[in-house]
């Protein structure tokens, strides 16, 4: 079986530049989106990948072809694009970013009215249009429009929500690593306006990512070093499109993306609003503990930002996110936003008067392992019922793959929609237990 590097799916279109991701396909996908949206203005933002320019022109021509107006927002973090779309009441937006994927990849992510991603059934409708190629092409295309400073809207929205005086009083020393990505033009000034002293590393747009864009501990050596040597209070790592955040404590140790989310949510619940909490099925149990401590209800959704934000809207949750560092605060917008995450953590730091490493130690300590195993699509589906059978005395949830909960551990096994791989997450109180469970799961493969 040949697996294509081009992925056309309900999450958008993704591929390797110079291989599957051609201007013609990008154009066609944009035509399908403009036809689906039915006209109006479609904002376009990108991250800092060198291929963004080629992709952008293809997207513009596709949007124009089907009677919509492209609004060029230049390099822009994806949460800023989502907020812009919502605040300006635009019909839709396209983000040109392959997010945490390596630099040779690029992708289109589709945002609808209200600044959220397409619901799966909407995305399926779009794909149907795309494959049929029946587009609403017009004979009088409109013109490309430009907006020079679209980030301002995002910043203003956050500043309405943030306790800026609290942060300014603390004058925290911060090191931030935007990974040469979409946050580069904005993040230093943003933090300075909050009253922080800022050192920015990996802060040039060079055409290559200075590190693997995923904010995992093993990718953050430079940032950790900088935090240690500069004596900063905290370090922040963003990914290439600036939706995910991982924090570093003052000793230069990454606290992990799961704990980053947990501290932000904990602070929100104790100092902002009591609200239900929504996270995805793969997120650490520490979030459940945090919610219980504040006495609020707790929900889990399928993996994926749109699934979390949709559930948040359904249950009226103001706070939530994904364990990979995607913090969502609905007061700003129901999207993963590293900028909002930084504000919450800086407020926490100022309010608590504690060191960041101490704050992390206050959280319940779990051990987690995330693994990716190659498996055929068909085999990936079969494995789920086998696992449910094997762990039938646990609490079983088939919402998204299979998740099994026991009092002292849980695991989540989920076949990817786009690649022939199985994602396995195991979390337990004791480290030894993790490997035992992982071994048991792998026996079924």
């Amino acid at each position: 079986m040949r697996i294509s590097d081009l992925k056309v799916s309900i999450s958008g279109i993704r591929g390797i530049v110079g291989k599957g991701l051609t201007p013609q396909l990008l154009m066609k996908f944009s035509e399908a989106f403009a036809t689906f949206i039915g006209g109006g203005t479609i904002a376009v933002g990108s991250d800092t990948r060198p291929s963004a320019e080629m992709v952008k022109y293809a997207v513009f021509s596709g949007i124009l072809s089907c009677g919509a107006t492209p609004l060029d927002l230049g390099i822009l973090p994806i949460p800023s694009l989502q907020i812009y779309t919502k605040e300006k009441k635009l019909e839709g937006a396209i983000s040109i970013t392959a997010s945490h994927n390596p630099v040779e990849w690029n992708a289109l992510k589709l945002i609808k009215k209200g600044g959220v991603f397409l619901y799966p059934y909407e995305a399926e409708e779009l794909l149907d249009l795309y494959y049929q190629g029946k587009f609403r092409r017009v004979d009088n295309p409109s013109k490309i429009e430009k907006e020079p400073s679209p980030f301002e809207l995002h910043e203003r929205r956050i500043f309405q929500f943030a306790d800026i005086d609290l942060i300014r009083k603390k004058r925290p020393n911060v090191v931030v690593d935007p990974c040469g990505g979409a946050a580069v033009p904005f993040v230093k000034k943003f933090l300075e306006r909050l009253g922080a002293e800022v050192i920015c590393v990996n802060c040039e747009i060079s055409g290559e990512f200075p590190r693997n864009p995923e904010p995992l501990p093993e990718n953050l050596n430079l940032l950790c070093e900088a935090v240690k040597t500069s004596g900063a209070d905290i370090g922040f790592a963003q990914d290439a499109d600036a939706d995910r955040l991982a924090a570093i404590d003052e000793k230069g140790n990454p606290i992990g993306e799961e704990n980053t989310l947990a501290l932000a949510v904990d602070y929100y619940l104790s100092n902002k609003k009591k609200s239900p909490v929504v996270v995805n099925l793969s997120t650490s149990k520490v979030l459940e503990d945090v919610a219980r401590k504040s006495g609020v209800s707790f929900f889990r959704s399928k993996v994926g930002e749109i699934n979390v934000s949709r559930k948040m809207m359904q249950v009226g949750a103001k706070i939530g996110g994904e364990g990979n560092g995607g913090i969502i605060a609905a007061d700003v917008h129901t999207c993963r936003d590293s900028f909002t995450g930084m504000v919450l953590l800086l407020e926490l730091l100022a309010w608590s008067g504690k060191r960041f490493s101490e704050l992390k130690e206050d959280l319940p300590q779990y051990h987690m392992i995330k693994e990716k195993v190659n498996i055929s699509f068909r085999e990936g589906k079969r494995i789920l019922s086998k696992l449910a059978e094997k762990f039938k005395d646990g609490r079983i949830d088939f919402t998204d793959g299979v998740r099994v909960d026991y009092p002292d551990f849980w695991f989540h096994v989920r076949p990817s929609n786009t690649e022939p791989v199985l994602r396995i997450i195991v979390e337990a109180l004791e480290e030894g237990l993790i490997n035992m469970i992982l071994k048991k799961i792998k026996e079924e493969l």
Binding site: I16, V17, G18, K19, T22, P23, Q24, L26, M27, K28, E31, R49, P50, S51, E53, M54, V55, K56, Y57, A58, F60, S61, G62, L64, S65, V103, E104, N106, R137, V138, D139, N140, P141, K143, I144
Partner: protein, 446 residues
Amino acid sequence: MNDRVRITVSGIRGKVPQSLNVDIASKFASAFASYLDEGRVAGCRDSRFSSHMLEMAVCSSVLAAGLDYIDFGLIPTPFLQFLMKREPFSGGISISGGHNPLPWNAVVLLNEEGAYLEPFEGSEVFNIYESGDFKKASWKNLGAAAERAFPVELYLKEMSKWVNIQRIRESNFKVVGDLCNGAISPFMGIFGEFFNCKLVTINDDLEKPFPHPPEPSIENAAQVEAVVKATDADIGFLINSDSSRISFVSEKGKGLSEELTLPLCLLSLQGKISKVMTTVSTSSWADWAARRIGVNVYKTKVGQSAVIHMMGAEDAEVGGEGSGSVAFSPFSLGYDALLSLAFVLDLMSKEGKSISEIMAPFPEYYMEKCKIEVPPEMTYKIMDKLEKVYAKERPDFTDGIRVERKGLWFNIRPSTTEFILRLILEGETDLLVKCAKAEIIERIEE
């Protein structure tokens, strides 16, 4: 049927969006960039609503093949051709429907010297298009796009080398121009100042649609005629949307046939040229003017590609067609309306005569140009039939069929840009022309 896209060396032409759309434009740009293989591509567009959209598609495809794209924005195609003769580019792409009416548009491909592609170049590109085997650069080797302003001062300076600039300036001409809301609009004022003309322009707004079919001809000249009379101007002109074709209006406010543009330019170039290339369907006025200034005339197929490349092959400095198109190879390898205007102003200042006085010695010819709509699949059957019908008159087959009789000639050929047969007849009397036309149409309909 008329919605089929036309794919020839004079461009990929079609109605937007039925036959020409971003998908086809981008595939042709990918094929062209794959053919060019490396270097940078110069690009421009006209003022049609669909042109920017098509340019974006083209730009993305050029970058994806690893070539740079230098965007000169909204400028006339001849400007780009002028620059490409002087600066190294691998090729050029102009998004411009030229004389085609809306909703038509075209992707016009230019070779490294700024000339339309020759048939062998065109077929290489079309073969790549057909195979779909486009060059794909990796993310590291993608091309870059850059915007550049067209150096209009250089253009005028080079132009002034071929005319007596001092004499034109001193003549202080009063000129009226209809710019068809085309790409030349923002530049016309600079031209007027440079030649010290008192310039009145109409239809000079890029934001507006074409005021009339974008072909310079007597039928479209009414507005200019009226303004010339009202302002007591020395000359009027009409330019097509991409500024490759021009026709004139006399100081009396009388529209002149676009067939007169080439002969007027020839008279202006007396002593500076030795050969002229024209086509089998251009007026005998061109032959008359060439004889008058003592240069040889060569005739080739209709269309910018054929004329420009035969100019090169025969060392002809001037080439042109009865559509109001003139090229001058020391200046650029493309038809250029502003250059023609400069030549005609030069002629007026040299002779010290009004345009009507200059026209006075021209012999009287009567010409008719007809478009005969035929279904595309019938085109060649009809041509085949006519070939047999006129065989005994020993026709010329350079392009379609050209028959010469005493006091009359006619040429009939399928259009390269539209689905029509073009019939052109010219004779010494109106009656000769009318009779011949009736006869030919009867033969077609038989």
